[in-house]
């Protein structure tokens, strides 16, 4: 579903070349739920932006759902859902319901399918109370649920989430996690999730990839990840060891 082959992206910053991502290769199969970890500035967001075609890779190849994202961006958009936790993709001044209606037209979702999907999402994400409220007046938790619904109205095969639980309280977080778990289990949607909240990883991800300085430092199951450190270590300890390089293999 997602294939990267020696993909790289560099930026010119004040005349020197900075490699945000370099020689990154991995494959994600349909139906997987993958956690994508890495310290700040490791290249997580750059990877995600290459996956949805926002950034053009400067080397290597990227394929999502069989398409080159930077060349087939608008075609791919119909098959991928994207959520940025730090930033809404909804229209700031429009009520949530209007944003959804616009999305229906942009993605050309037929009316009947849209209705049933929205009813289902509104139910599972509990949107009813604030669906008529302009996005700017929503709380962070409400907005995130709205963003998730917006990313799923066109029933994408792949869902890419960039820190979807950032800044959320424990109850909101639990709600989002349950929702994602069900989405992956019941619909078979492939999910790639970046987060700094290791609780997300423990509860959701069978597979974990860890990126540092723009290249992959770990790729394996949650069990493999825990096995890189002495017994009884918490997941925080394990990840901290990998981030600081002391446990990197």
């Amino acid at each position: 579903m997602i294939e990267l082959d020696r993909a790289g992206r560099s930026f010119k910053v004040q005349r020197s070349l900075v490699h945000a991502v370099r020689d990154l290769s991995f494959t994600v199969s349909p139906g997987e739920f993958v956690g994508y970890l890495g310290p700040n500035g490791a290249g997580k967001s750059t990877t995600i932006k290459m996956l949805c075609g926002i950034l053009t890779p400067t080397s290597g190849t990227v394929r999502v759902a069989g398409l080159d994202p930077s060349r087939k961006r608008t075609t791919l958009a119909r098959r991928i859902g994207v959520v940025f936790g730090q930033r809404t993709t909804l229209w700031w001044d429009l009520p949530l319901a209007d944003s959804f209606e616009l999305i229906r037209h942009l993605y050309k979702v037929d009316r009947a399918a849209f209705r049933s999907r929205l009813a289902e999402l509104a139910d599972t994400l509990d949107l009813g109370a604030f669906i008529r409220t302009p996005v700017r007046q929503l709380s962070l938790g409400q907005r995130m649920r709205g963003d998730l619904a917006a990313a799923l109205l066109h029933a994408p095969d792949v869902l890419v989430l960039d820190e979807p639980t950032i800044g959320l309280d424990v109850v909101s977080k639990a709600g989002i996690r349950d929702f994602l778990k069900r989405l992956n289990a019941e619909r078979g949607t492939t999910v790639l999730l970046t987060t700094h909240d290791l609780g997300d990883i423990e509860r959701l991800c069978r597979r974990v990839m860890l990126i540092d300085h723009g290249s992959l430092a770990f790729d394996g199951t949650l069990g493999d990840l825990m096995a890189t450190a002495p017994d009884q270590s918490s997941i925080e300890d394990v990840v901290a060891r990998l981030y600081t390089g002391s446990g990197a293999t």
Binding site: F11, C52, I54, T74, R87, T88, L106, Y107
Partner: protein
């Protein structure tokens, strides 16, 4: 494409209609401020009967054709000059994850229906000039052609202005010189300007084809600067070439977009 634009535009219009007072006031103000340009022309002609050999109604004809093309673009395309704001605010990513071209979404972004006031004003001036001028009707076909040519040229200029902002993110105003500046320039017969300027807006930035060259044909006049007759008909070709250049520049801009941190 048109239906998506209409849908986006309608959504923004409905959002703006929540403040009906401001909406009506902006239409009236738009009408009034552009009417000032006409007032200037009328003041000039209160003191003289011709400007570079052109009568008042001929100048109003040139003003009307250029302004109609410009204000239509101002209403439907000009929102694209907010590219740099979106890049800086980090909101540009959002346009790129939708299955519709970013160009179309940006043009429709915060669509402002109250700009219709300016379009109406330009249309009225053109209507008056055509009625007053007693034009040769065999040459009148050029009028719609030149308005459409003008729309393509100004749209291409705005697209170029947007594309340049991917590089000059910190200097979005620089490009206004070419869009708004181009409109100011085309309001008068080009023969009042220095010859080098006229050459550059004929052969480099094809503003002369918005209304000057085809306008001379519609008015049945020779070019006071002596360009040959066939130049009157090159407008559509010049517009197409500029549109192509703009499309390529825009594509390059998107491919070189760097996004923001996080």
């Amino acid at each position: 494409m048109v239906s998506i634009y209409a849908r986006l535009a309608w959504t923004w219009t409905r959002a703006a209609a929540a403040y009906p007072g401001s909406f009506v006031l902006m239409i009236v103000l738009g009408f009034a401020t552009t009417a000032l340009d006409v007032a200037v022309i009328l003041v000039v002609f209160a003191n003289t009967t011709t400007l570079a050999g052109f009568s008042r109604d001929e100048v109003l004809f040139l003003y009307g054709t250029a302004s109609l093309a410009f204000t239509v673009c101002d209403m439907f395309v000009s929102n694209i000059d907010r590219v740099s704001q979106h890049i800086k605010a980090g909101t540009f990513d959002t346009f790129l994850i939708r299955p519709v071209s970013a160009w179309l979404q940006l043009c429709a972004d915060r669509f402002n229906a109250n700009r219709i006031g300016r379009v109406l004003q330009a249309g009225l001036v053109l209507g008056y000039a055509v009625a007053a001028l007693d034009l040769d009707w065999r040459r009148a076909w050029m009028i719609p052609v030149m308005v459409i040519t003008g729309i393509v040229i100004f749209s291409a200029l705005w697209t170029l202005a947007g594309a340049v902002q991917f590089v000059l993110t910190d200097a979005p105003e620089l490009v206004n010189a070419f869009t708004y500046g181009g409109h100011q320039l085309t309001q008068y017969p080009l023969s009042i300007y220095a010859r080098d300027l006229v050459r550059s807006v004929t052969y480099v930035l094809p503003l002369a084809f918005v209304n000057w060259q085809p306008g001379l044909y519609a008015l049945g006049r020779d070019d006071p600067l002596g360009t040959p007759e066939f130049m009157r008909f090159l407008g559509p070709a010049a517009a197409l070439a500029l549109a192509l250049a703009a499309a390529l520049a825009w594509r390059q801009g998107i491919r070189h977009y760097r996004s923001t941190g996080s």
